[in-house]
Subunit: 121 residues, 2 copies
DNA sequence: CACATTGTGTGACGGCTGTCACACGGAGTC
DNA sequence: GACTCCGTGTGACAGCCGTCACACAATGTG
């Protein structure tokens, strides 16, 4: 299972992680300024992310609602490990210090990440 | 100027950084086990890297020789900054500690990187 | 009900990437 | 000189990505 979202996908995922499931339109409104693209692009990207298993779309309610299917910490852990391994060729466990200055992570999430990073190699 | 080599390109660049300019065939022989692809692929990738300005090919000598045109430290600094900024949303200077466990970098290179990373935002 | 807005299905297209294959000319070998 | 191997120019093709547009159904509003 590949779990490395590309840049636009990561933007959408971050919004979902931060604010939970929401209708496609809302997600678009939140991310459009950053992505600077049209509603069609948001929809298509979500479609592709669905195929990859990154999100799921629930059509039970009126405007279909999107939710993340992969967790923030495991995704970031994968991406970090990929980057450090491939680019910097770090073999051992990653230094948690690399993440403490991230504005993305709460203390609990940092703890979780640390656990994931140690055991992932 | 974009300066973010994709994965196969980075493999070739690393070999060039480590061993200096060399004929295409030698570069292929060194990287093929890791890339697991054919000589044609190496050649085509080098061609594309030439277009991007990542390497240059000198045809003055008999078997044309490839050399890196972008430096290891600036390239890694760009990639690291891109990753930390986009994925982890780190705004300030990156912690040098993130690099000390890399098996790629000498002490002087670490110093250089640290300088680049501090002033790059 | 007629119209305007929103949601959804689907198709498209050019660029980059990964990955070759083919063909041809020069160089070394018998 | 004929054959073989290597270097080089070039073309190809499918898959993913960024980015829409079009068409139609559903829904709200006067």
């Amino acid at each position: 299972m590949k779990i490395t979202p590309n840049p636009p996908e990561l933007v959408l995922l971050k919004a979902l992680w931060a604010r939970g499931a929401m209708p496609v339109r809302s997600l678009h409104d939140i991310c459009a300024p950053e992505l600077n693209w049209s509603f069609s692009s948001t929809r298509k990207t979500i479609e592709r992310m669905t195929d990859k298993g990154f999100v799921s779309v629930s059509t039970t309610s009126k405007p279909a609602s999107v939710s993340a299917r992969i967790s923030k910490t495991t995704t970031l852990a994968h991406m970090a490990r990929e980057f450090f391994g491939r680019v910097l060729e770090v073999d051992g466990p990653l230094p948690a210090s690399a993440f403490t200055c991230s504005t993305l992570l709460s203390d609990e999430e940092l703890d979780e990440l640390e656990g994931l990073l140690g055991g992932l190699y």
